[in-house]
Amino acid sequence: MAAGTGSGRTVSATFRPIRGWLLLPSWAIIGFFMVIPVLLMLVYSFLTKEFRGGVIWEPTLAAYDQFLFDRGLFGDEPPTIEWAYITIFIRSILQATGATLLCLLIGFPTAFFIATRPAHTRAIWLFLITIPYWVNLLIRTVSVRFLIRDNGPLNDFLLALGLVDQPLGLINTNFAVQLGLFYSYLPFMVLPIYAAVERYNFAFSEAASDLYAPKWTILRRIVIPVVKPGIIAGCILVFVPSLGAFLAPDLLGGAKTYMIGSLIEEQFKGNAGNWPFGAAASMILLSMVLVVLLFYARGQSREGA
């Protein structure tokens, strides 16, 4: 239309000269309250722990050493590999991977289905997916706990149907945590895949079908490769928060389902805490996330090239 005939230019002579002033509050606030704290956390991970929380400003590698090695109760025995914390990290990676795959399994067909609806109903479907995304994560996790606990509605239902003759004992298991993560982050998978499928040009699929390609081959060989950036974005949006999740392992799991988030939280609560160790665990978690994001960014720029 009249206004649309322009080049779509968004640079303006009005605000360009003061852009530094406009960006200053963001630089200052995020820099001061986010970048400096993360750097400080790195420093803390090399300090000596103070009993009852806090630190003594003496540099040491104790936190990272404790993470990897067991030196006995008094620290004077020859070091052996300490598996407890490594196990927690591996469990977190497996749980996050499992949750990502489950979300993909349900999320991709959902996103595809919604993106192929007529424009006016599409918005409603999408809205139904977004609502749980904005509902308090704590309340959602509590509601899963309520639903699957031993004498909760799910077990009552299964018992009444005669499908099981005693409660399933789901709560406080790795499976319950997996379910909780899957439930928490499912909308994160649907939204980016939806955005990619919505932009997908179905003329490709039609051309392939004219050449007698079977339907599922079209999906596998044409649709999925084209919408891959959306799938990867969805996987990252599920994997990253699952890896550092605290609520699902805390409310649905128990001592045997500890994840990184629970381990970190424990170091800052109460007197048993160990701040340098918590800082070190946070740094390791952050590095893992950064590695995932860097791979993603590299893939993006290669895609663009």
């Binding site: 968004t10 640079v11 852009r19 349900i106 509902v135 308090n136 339907k215 609520l247 918590g278």
Partner: protein, 272 residues
Amino acid sequence: MTFDVRRYRGFFGLTMLCLFILYVPLLVVMVYSFNDSRSITNWEGVSLRWYVDVFTGPESEKFKQAAWNSLTIALSAAIVSTTIATAAAIGMVRGGAFRGKSATFALISLPIMVPEIVTAVATLIFFSTIAFPLGTLSILVAHIVFCIPFAYLPISARLQGIEASYEEAAQDLYAGRWATFRHVLFPIMGPGIMSGFLLAFIISLDDFIITNFVKGAGVETLPTAIFGSVKQGIQPNIMALSTLLLLFSIALVTLSYFIGKRGEALQPDRGD
């Protein structure tokens, strides 16, 4: 031989399964919040007693204080972060190309990228090092930082759809910079700013992990109060309180959705 390349057998079923999974736990809690029973296990008929309990029961003072804290913090955090994000969006979108633009974008997105528990730990360590007292103010500061990217994204998306010609026309008519923003840009950006504000508000209202780390002793927001209660076992009054909070969030999201829709209708530049 043709078939509909948009339809796959089973996809509709999986979509329904997806919605079923997303909604069933929430609906179950809503239904059980009307249970007229002291125990959460047995169903003893419909009643509003736990809603009455939330407002007048033995824990009502705690809940009221927590709700007041949550609302004042969320409102202040949303106002401040939306203001900062609006300025940043204008600087980024209207500023053209400049050195450090992608670094600035990375900086603004940082609070979304970093796992929340890491942000929580880092913020706690920072506050404790500079001896910043933990309480309402520390929660507010942490929320402002965390909310900036959530406010920024819808606002900058909106601004990207608005051409600079409007501001230039205003300037040609001798409007100053502030007048141009106040009377020209702000009204067109309105829906984006409003949805950014609402998202920031919900994010702050719902936040548990960061709040739990930086709140200090004695100060509670609704999520931390609910978490504290749930650790002792899920009580029926918590289900009533959760239902209220849930409905409040849904109402806000619905509001944001319709504001966004109205914004699309008003969008001046979208010829297609």
